[in-house]
Amino acid sequence: MLYKQAKNNEAMIFELSREGNRGYISDAPFGVLPDIPKSLIRDSPPILPELTELDVVRHFIKLSQENYGVDTGFYPLGSCTMKYNPKLNEEIAASIDVTSHHPLDPEAFIQGNLELLWRFSQILCDISGMHEVTLQPAAGAQAEFLGAMIIAKYHENNGDCRDEMLVPDTAHGTNPASSAMAGFRVVEIPSDDYGQVDIDALAAAASKKVAGLMLTNPNTLGIFESKIGEISNIIHEAGGLLYLDGANLNATLGQARPGDMGFDIVHFNMHKTFSTPHGGGGPGAGAIGVKSFLRDFLPMPRIFKDGEHYTILHGAPYSIGKLQSYYGNFAVLIRAYIYLISLGTDISSVSEMAVLNANYLMNRLKKDFDIPYLDNTPLRKHEFVISCEKIHKDTGVTVMDIARRMLDFGIHPPTVYFPLIVKEALMIEPTETETKETLDNFADILIKIKKECYEQPELVLGAPHNTTRRKLDMVKATRNPVLSWKMLKD
């Protein structure tokens, strides 16, 4: 039986506007408006739509039904770790204790919040083997930028002028982008036949210009960089720093610690590894852990424990400064903290099942699909990558078509066309929160779609059939950008 997504044919909110309707009314003023210079006054207020509370609710509830989340189905989007978002965390994050404090309120009034942040950073240190953690980055990419800035600051501080950042060819796009924002020239390191960093190439690249290496481990093929010890030596001997892109930390939680592997800087994604919801794109939250020799470069503010009291350090001479206002995405961090204290030592079962699920699913599929590097590297960690290149050559069906066809079965497709080194890549990350039945069902569907590619390619090419919208015209959207109601009207 095929899935069918709701189609509510909901108009744009501006079209629902009717003069005189109100959806929220604020308190009447108790003060009197000052005289405002005429030149300052807006000619007419912004033309926001006018709706009742019911109109607004119905509109967005209908829209929500036309969206797909982890709570509605399997979401094996590779490298995004779309695990279940526990509801206790949501409830606590919505409580007044989390929502209502101003970050600049007096220390004495926010001791609970400071304690939570401090305790959380301690747990992250324990898990990662790092020595201090900052929770300020609003997201993984901002954490990467921070990591790159710390690398820069470290070398600057040593009077060492290094402007190259090494990045493997399997890296997330944010790595080179963040490096560039931090003023580095990006040097790409190729992968070897094992789907790992080519050690020779790395050694060749490791010069005095190298500020550091941004490594994802396990990498985006789901392959653990087994020569991490060697990599660490090469980079450190060249005077560079070793940075872990922690996007894939879910694979090693409680099994091995980046700090022990020689990483100097690690970033964490709360919305990947620690189960905070992704909100349709955000907010997430990031964190950066560093070894002790880098702690002075961390951004402000830092929180310290002083007996039973928690204090805030607002300035420090070597700090890189600030990345964003205040303490970071507190409401997201608190969810991650609750997740961690709830699981406690069971955290290792998260990585175990994440890895077991990925390997089980890969084995379910390996007869029917090409899995690059499988002969040389038979194990994966939390995710694995299939190549649909042969299907494409044989039938003309692209991996994007296959992805769209999966939608008809009520499954969110895996990541496509990434990593870039695999052609027609399908990057599958089941996560630990899914049952064996869900994995088996996914495998059956993917195999069925492969069959369709050969027997009824038009079915796949015409997909999706059962979603709110059929295949959308991306080219039109780019050629003639309509980005707002204002642009549409004009």
Partner: protein, 445 residues
């Protein structure tokens, strides 16, 4: 408690089948043994009830106060229905809408956020969010430099210290120099003469804020925009979008880029995060190409029905990598949805009303504070929005202590005798009267 993990991790009984299916027992064999952990780390697992008790015990160490601190974090009332909307599972448990056909709900909601914010700022192109106002300023500086291929960025001396620090972090390594321009000591207005002298062929962008960090409006923003543009630089304006219910929008006076903070329009303050950075530009293809952040656009599906997609992704890191217009990936989408629901609820009339209410109530506060012996407020001859400087004979620390003792938190300090107070729609007349009472009492003692 044994078994807690089973709530989040299934397959306890099917593990054996799965291990034997893949034909190996050690799935972490690829991690060199020297790095593998042999002891469990972390605290004792907790049941749901134990977890809740643990957290609630720590929360008890917080104390709720009536706070007059703002600085970009404005504690506005969030209507219940807005909270209910963003609590919809299909919204909050979804990823970035990479598969548009199955993600029309989030895409349309973000398109509506872009559209509503476009109406407010008066520019047609708004991205679907940045982290916050501060990082939006950093991105704006980088973009100005990219667009103009110049390397100086001018900001007002009166900028918030938080934003200034973030800006410096963002531009530190790419060779952009920050220059500052002062303001008139009486009116607070940005020194347009000094600015005119400061702009040059190196000026990538000129940034100013209205309302300023000190709370008053720039009364002649179009002049400032013109100075920038005449010098071949981009003008960047930082705003509190709510003020645009009363005062001209940056679009009205021709700004190229508008940034600001919108979290307070539909989101609680959450101890300062997440926030919701606005980033808007003119309808200019060249600027659009250089813009950071995600954009949702309208298109059609194969049946000709309107639908929404993330568009112009070629600017982004996952395609363009080190040549991307920004590294931003995860943004603040759900906060943008809350903002869209909130703005649609206020509507045209309600938005203007609320904008005026804030302004009127702030005036009530500064007039009453200013009337207290030993206090001056506001400190500049200008039109104020929600924040205003209070100077006092007593030190800010003394005032803060007095306020703390009755469960209030005063303004953000500027210097020993000056602090910036902030009024939101949560403050009642009684709150302000109580504030004044404490201030009055302070001088008597």
């Amino acid at each position: 408690m044994v078994g807690v993990k089973m709530v989040y991790v299934p397959n306890e009984k099917e593990k054996d089948i799965m291990y034997s299916y893949i034909g190996r027992q050690d799935i972490f064999a690829d991690i060199p043994s020297s790095y593998r952990m042999h002891t469990k780390i972390g605290p004792k697992p907790l049941t749901e009830q134990e977890t809740r008790r643990y957290i609630e015990k720590i929360f008890k160490k917080n104390h709720h106060v009536i706070s007059f601190k703002g600085g970009g974090i404005y504690d506005h009332y969030v209507p219940s229905h807005v909270k209910e909307i963003v609590a919809r599972n299909e919204f909050y448990t979804s990823y970035t809408p990479y598969q548009p056909e199955v993600s029309q709900g989030m895409l349309q909601a973000l398109f509506e956020y872009q559209s509503l914010m476009a109406e407010i700022v008066g520019l047609p192109i708004v991205n679907s969010s940045l982290y916050d106002w501060s990082s939006a300023l950093g991105e704006a500086a980088l973009m100005c430099s990219r667009v103009t291929k110049r390397n100086e960025f001018i900001v007002p001396e009166s900028i918030s210290p938080e934003r200034m620090m973030v800006l410096k972090t963002y531009v530190h390594r790419v060779g952009i120099k920050i220059r500052t321009v002062g303001h008139d000591p009486i009116t607070g207005q940005l020194d347009s003469k000094a600015l005119s002298e400061l702009v040059c062929e190196n000026t990538a962008g000129v940034y100013f804020e209205t309302p300023t960090y000190y709370g008053y409006f720039e009364h002649n923003p179009s002049e400032l925009v013109k100075i920038a543009q005449d010098a071949g630089a981009l003008s960047v304006v930082g705003i509190d979008p709510l003020s645009c219910g009363v005062v001209k929008s940056p679009g009205d006076y021709g700004a190229d880029i508008v940034i600001g903070e919108a979290a307070h329009l539909g989101n609680p303050i959450n101890f300062g995060g997440p926030l919701l950075g606005i980033f808007a530009i003119k309808n200019d293809r060249n600027l659009l190409r250089m813009m950071p952040g995600r954009l949702v656009g309208l298109t059609t599906d194969k049946e000709g029905k309107n639908g929404y997609v993330m568009t112009l992704q070629v600017r982004e890191q996952h395609i363009r990598r080190e040549r991307a217009t920004s590294n931003i990936c995860t943004n603040e989408s759900l906060c943008a949805v809350a903002c869209a629901a909130y703005l649609s609820s206020l509507g045209k009339v309600g938005f203007e009303e609320l904008s005026k209410t804030i302004m009127a109530n702030a005036r009530y506060a500064y007039l009453n504070i200013g009337a207290i012996n030993g206090f001056t407020a506001p400190c500049f001859k200008a039109t104020y929005f929600r924040e205003f400087m209070v100077k006092s004979d007593k030190t800010v620390a003394e005032l803060e202590q007095a306020l703390n003792s009755i469960g209030m938190s005063g303004g953000i300090p500027v210097d020993d005798h000056t602090a910036i107070f902030c009024i939101t729609d949560k403050h009642t007349k009684e709150d302000i009267n109580k504030l004044c009472e404490v201030m009055g009492g302070l001088n008597v003692v």
